[in-house]
C-alpha cells in the first residue's frame, strides 16, 4: 500500500513499505518556473529530516530541496540530468528526485496528507 505525504516546503514523499520516493509538488514547480538543472544526492548518503539533499535550478533561481524524513538515499532519477524539464511536466510522476530507505517512519506522521496539503496550498494564494 502506498501513501503520499507532503512537507510545508512543498516536497512530496510516496511511501511504499520502507522505501520513499521524493520529489517536489506541482505547486513548487509552478513557483520555480522552467527547471534547467537538478543536483541530486549521492546514492548511499544518510540524511536527517530537514537536511538539504538536492538543489533545483530554474531559469529564475536556485532552490533547495529538503529531506522530508530521515533515511538512506538508495536511488536517484538519472533521467533528470538529460530532461530536467520533466520536473515541470510531471512533478509527482516521472519528475521524482530520489528514493530513500526510511529509517524513522514515525516522522511521516508530522507530514501532511493530500487533503491537508491541498488546503495548505490554497491558503497560500
Amino acid at each position: 500500500m502506498t501513501s503520499m505525504r507532503y512537507t510545508r516546503e512543498h516536497e512530496w514523499i510516496r511511501v511504499d513499505g520502507e522505501i520513499g520516493t521524493v520529489g517536489i509538488t506541482d505547486y513548487a514547480q509552478e513557483q520555480l518556473g522552467d527547471v534547467v538543472f537538478v543536483e541530486l544526492p549521492e546514492v548511499g548518503r544518510q540524511v536527517v529530516k530537514g537536511d538539504e539533499v538536492a538543489v533545483v535550478e530554474s531559469v529564475k533561481a536556485a532552490s533547495e530541496v529538503y529531506a522530508p524524513v530521515s533515511g538512506d538515499v538508495t536511488e536517484t532519477n538519472e533521467k533528470l540530468a538529460e530532461e530536467p524539464a520533466t520536473v515541470n511536466s510531471a512533478p509527482t510522476a516521472e519528475g521524482w528526485f530520489f528514493k530513500m530507505r526510511i529509517t524513522a517512519s514515525a516522522e511521516l506522521d508530522d507530514l501532511m496528507d493530500t487533503a491537508t496539503y491541498k488546503d495548505y496550498v490554497d491558503s497560500l494564494d
Partner: protein, 370 residues
C-alpha cells in the same frame, strides 16, 4: 510590514488589468507589481528570438526636458556626446558621480525641441531629483508619471508594427518618430534591450491597454515578462543597473568606454571625468567579462570567480542559464590579466568549482535593424 501591506504599497502600470487577464505571475520589482512571466520564461525567451514578444516596461522612468541648451546641461551629468545627437535620434549613455562610478544607465532621445530621458525604474526618483538639483536652473523637467512604455522585440517586430504604422518599417536603429498607431498617438523608437530588432513605444496610459491588445492580436506576438527580459539582455551582453553596474563601477571597468564620445574624451566636463579618463589611458583594475561554464549548473550573481588554481579574481554580477546559448552564462568582473578571451576561469557554486572560460560579449549576436 506584512506581505499583504507590502503588496498594497506597490504601484501598478496602466497595463495591470491586462497582465491579470493574461494570467501573468506578478512579482514586486522596483516598487511595482510587474509580470515575471506569462507562459514561462523559456517559451517567452525563445519566442522573442524567433518571432516577437511584447513587454510592459512602463515602470521605467520617463521625463521630458526643455530649455535653451538641454544638451549642454545634460553633458554636465552624463558621459555621452549629447550635443552631436541629431533631432530624431537616441543614444545610450551613463550618469556618473565624482568618483567616476555609474549613477545610472539611460537613453537620451532628442525630439527636436525637447529631450526625453528613459531611466531605470529603481533609479528614477534619484535621477530626476539629481537632475533638478544640478541643472534645474537651466532646464524644465516634466516627469511622465501617467505614460506607458511598451517594448515590441524580435525579428518579426518590424513587420508586425508596419501593419499598423507603415512608416515604422523605414525607421533606422536608434531613431525616434512621433507616429499614430491606429488613432493612438505614440512616440516610437527603434531600440530595445534584448539584442533583437524592435521598438519601444511610449503612449498615454489611458490608451496603453488598447495598443497592447492590438499588437498582441497579431499571430507572431506573445506577451513576455521580466524573467525573459533578463535572460535576453544577459545573452545580449547588456548590463542591468544594480547588478552589473553601480556607483562603485566605472564606465571603463564596465566595458562601456565606447559611450564616451571623442569630444567628451578630449574635453571631459562630466562627473568623475579625471578618474574615468585616466582609467581609459592606464587601464582599469578590473573588467567586465562574459563567462560560459561547462556543464549545466548556473552560477548566479554574487558567486566568486577564480582562476584554475582557486585564486580569487572577482565576482559574478549576472548569471543564469542562457536559453539560446543552451549553457550556463554569466557576466562578472575580473582582474584584467584574466579578461582576455578564452582565459580559463571557474565559478564557485555551493562550494564546488565549476570550470568555464571567458568569451567575448555578446553571447548571442545582436540582430538590430540595419
Amino acid at each position: 510590514m506584512t506581505e499583504a501591506a507590502a503588496t498594497q504599497a506597490l504601484k501598478r502600470t496602466p497595463l495591470y488589468d491586462l497582465h491579470r487577464k493574461l494570467g501573468a505571475k506578478l512579482v514586486p520589482f522596483a516598487g511595482y507589481e510587474m509580470p515575471l512571466q506569462y507562459d514561462g520564461i523559456l517559451a517567452e525567451h525563445r519566442h522573442c528570438r524567433n518571432q516577437a514578444v511584447l513587454f510592459d516596461v512602463s515602470h521605467m522612468g520617463m521625463a521630458l526636458l526643455r530649455g535653451d541648451d538641454v544638451a549642454g546641461a545634460l553633458e554636465t551629468l552624463v558621459v555621452g556626446d549629447i550635443r552631436s545627437l541629431g533631432a530624431g535620434r537616441l543614444r545610450y549613455t551613463l550618469m556618473t558621480n565624482e568618483s567616476g562610478g555609474i549613477v545610472d544607465d539611460l537613453m537620451v532621445i532628442n525630439g527636436g525641441y525637447y529631450v526625453v530621458l528613459v531611466v531605470n525604474a529603481a533609479r528614477k526618483d534619484h535621477d530626476f531629483a539629481l537632475i533638478r538639483e544640478r541643472i534645474g536652473d537651466r532646464i524644465d523637467i516634466d516627469v511622465w508619471s501617467d505614460r506607458a512604455l511598451l517594448a515590441l522585440q524580435g525579428p518579426a517586430a518590424a513587420s508586425v508594427l508596419a501593419r499598423f504604422v507603415p512608416a515604422s518599417r523605414h525607421m533606422l536603429f536608434m531613431t525616434m518618430e512621433a507616429l499614430k498607431v491606429g488613432d493612438i498617438r505614440c512616440g516610437i523608437t527603434r531600440s530595445g534591450y534584448t539584442g533583437e530588432d524592435g521598438f519601444e513605444i511610449a503612449v498615454a496610459g489611458e490608451h496603453a491597454a488598447e495598443l497592447a491588445d492590438m499588437i498582441l492580436g497579431e499571430p507572431e506576438v506573445m506577451p513576455a515578462g521580466l524573467g525573459a527580459r533578463d535572460t535576453l539582455r544577459l545573452e545580449a551582453g547588456l548590463c542591468l543597473y544594480g547588478q552589473d553596474l553601480d556607483e562603485t563601477t566605472t564606465p571603463v571597468e564596465a566595458g562601456l568606454g565606447w559611450t564616451i564620445g571623442r569630444r567628451r574624451r578630449e574635453e571631459g566636463g562630466f562627473p568623475g571625468d579625471e578618474i574615468i579618463l585616466r582609467q581609459m589611458a592606464e587601464g582599469p583594475k578590473r573588467k567586465r567579462v562574459g563567462i560560459v561554464l561547462q556543464g549545466k549548473v548556473p552560477a548566479r550573481a554574487g558567486a566568486t570567480i577564480t582562476d584554475r588554481w582557486g585564486k580569487d579574481l572577482g565576482r559574478i554580477t549576472s548569471g543564469g542559464f542562457g536559453p539560446t546559448v543552451e549553457a550556463p552564462i554569466a557576466m562578472g568582473y575580473v582582474n584584467p590579466d584574466h579578461a582576455n578571451e578564452n582565459a580559463l576561469v571557474s565559478a564557485v557554486v555551493r562550494g564546488q568549482s565549476l570550470p568555464g572560460r571567458v568569451v567575448s560579449l555578446p553571447f548571442v549576436p545582436h540582430r538590430y535593424a540595419t
